[in-house]
């Protein structure tokens, strides 16, 4: 009975996940962000695809609701791209879960994603993924502080030297 042969009742699990995602609409509606049932299903499928793609398995509710609720108040997203944006975020999340060698908890990773997205990236998912989170993952792998930025540190040293002069 190998792991691959285990019976996953995918249909039931997905149905439950979709209803949980739709429940989030009650909160996100305050920010004019709502997902249709079709979009919620697509999001759940994206999660399944991302998990498979990045060689991970998930039990229980997963992180979709956490991502939705964390990014609900971001100023950089509107209803127009909301579903697409969430799909990208879910994929990014699982990718960096691997890249950080599972050394970061779900909540921490989501809060970092939110912090950089709203901060230096100013709503750019490209910058978030390819610059900030890439750097953060590298820092985690090297045992450094996730926020450590050698470029910033170098600039700071120069500034300190200028001040001393």
């Amino acid at each position: 009975m190998s792991f691959e042969l285990m019976l996953f009742d995918n249909f039931l699990m997905e149905k439950q996940a979709v209803s949980e995602v739709l429940l989030c609409n009650k909160i996100t509606a305050d920010y004019s962000l709502v997902l249709s049932e079709e979009q919620a299903l697509e999001l759940v499928e994206t999660r399944s695809y991302a998990l498979k793609n990045f060689g991970r398995v998930e039990f229980g509710g997963g992180i979709i609701e956490k991502v939705i609720l964390a990014f609900a108040d971001t100023p950089y997203i509107s209803q127009y791209r909301y579903a697409e944006f969430l799909n990208d975020l879910v994929e990014i999340f699982y990718y960096f879960k691997n890249e950080t060698l599972d050394l970061m908890s779900d909540d921490d990773l989501i809060s970092y994603m939110k912090k950089y997205f709203d901060g230096v990236c100013q709503g750019s998912l490209e910058q978030l993924k390819h610059r900030e989170l890439e750097r953060m993952a590298k820092n985690i792998r090297l045992g450094l502080d996730p926020d450590y930025n050698d470029l910033y540190e170098t600039e700071k040293i120069w500034e300190d030297e200028d001040d001393n002069e």
Partner: protein, 453 residues
Amino acid sequence: MNNLKKQTKIDADKLSGEFYFQSLLQEAFVKGELSPQESERIQLECLKLLADCTERFTKGKSSSVRVEIAQGIMASNLYTIGLYLKTLPDLDTALFHIKNEPIEKLYEYGHSVLKRKINVANYFFHLVCKTKFKTQNQAYNITIDDGFKPFFKNYDINFHAHEIPSDIDYQLIHPVTDLAGVEFVISYLENLYYENLFCSYFDADIIDAVMSGYDPSYQNLLDNICAQVFQNALGCNLLNISLAALDFCPAELTDLNNDLKHYDQAELQKKLTITTHEVIATLEITNVSLKKYLLASLPKLTTIVYNGLATNTLNKVFVPCYNAKLKPIIHYNMGIKMDDKTYRDIVMEFLSCRYFEDKLAIIKEHIKTLADMEDLLIAGELESPEAALIFDLLDDTELAVLSKRHPLRQEVEAIDYSAAEIRMQQNLNTYLRTQPRNRLAKILKMATTIEVI
């Protein structure tokens, strides 16, 4: 007659020792002892158990894990359940439990069994340490001294129960197969204990002589010691000589060869079985498990003896002990070194020489002992051709002493030596390689019999 039991259709021999639970489920399903509904229920419960364990593994901080982590946890869970099922009296009882107990409960029972098994492993490890005999064999020493430390320190019964975190190099007469985790460790340690127990009937120095006879560098081999001791004990018994010495002379081996060469393999096994019982009686072995252990090794041993007879290499089966006295030892005195100041002056002068003739003149004038010559060869920063001309000044014995003291080190060992020493080793090696084959053989043979004092 009322107590007739229903016979299970499952063949116990088809079950895996390592993947007991999985193989039992598979066999039960194939033989119709498990319905598709029951099978599905079991699988879903296994999945639920995996989800709970994964949550414990991530301490609730991550809802997802990498597939290989989940697979590892799943394998650990199934192994733990299998461990409990093995403790049940028969397959019917095991199947009854699988059908009527929640998987989570079976896992809990397995967990308790696992904890007890670790105590059993500890017990056998204690016995192994207690009966450990003195030997130069590194695999044996390292396996017992350090090999099980990772297991007793890091064995994770919650998530990696099926793994064996240990460094086991020493080979047993009966290798442990088809077991995993703590079961493997128990079985290995138990077998090793019986081997130690058998070897404890003989003097450690005698065992060392037997193994040195088997191979002079047996300390670096992964071969089993007990097997050779047992073979020699059987040989001694067959020759009706004392078992204590475990030794044979060539004439005795010839007699033995003549006695046994007419037997076919089946007859030979019978003969060796009788001999084994006689050895057990002579040594007054009372441990029943040890008796079984020795008798179980006879089929393999019979083949070895049979092949030894067929190929006329019985002396490789019943090996004569290594006798150090048979080897002439040359005690070589390196001589007294000159005082440090004089030596430093000579080296300074030697290094400042422009022409090699001047260096040779210094050597001929000041170097009187091999000890000083050795130091100068190391400190002299000599190129290979120059070193060769100096080596030409030395006789075979002196070259043998140097080659014994300065064998060419492998890269791994080279770290222990200075660059100057390595250069000298390389120069000597290069020089020896240029020598005629006869002279080189003579020097190398001499090196094995020289003892530098």
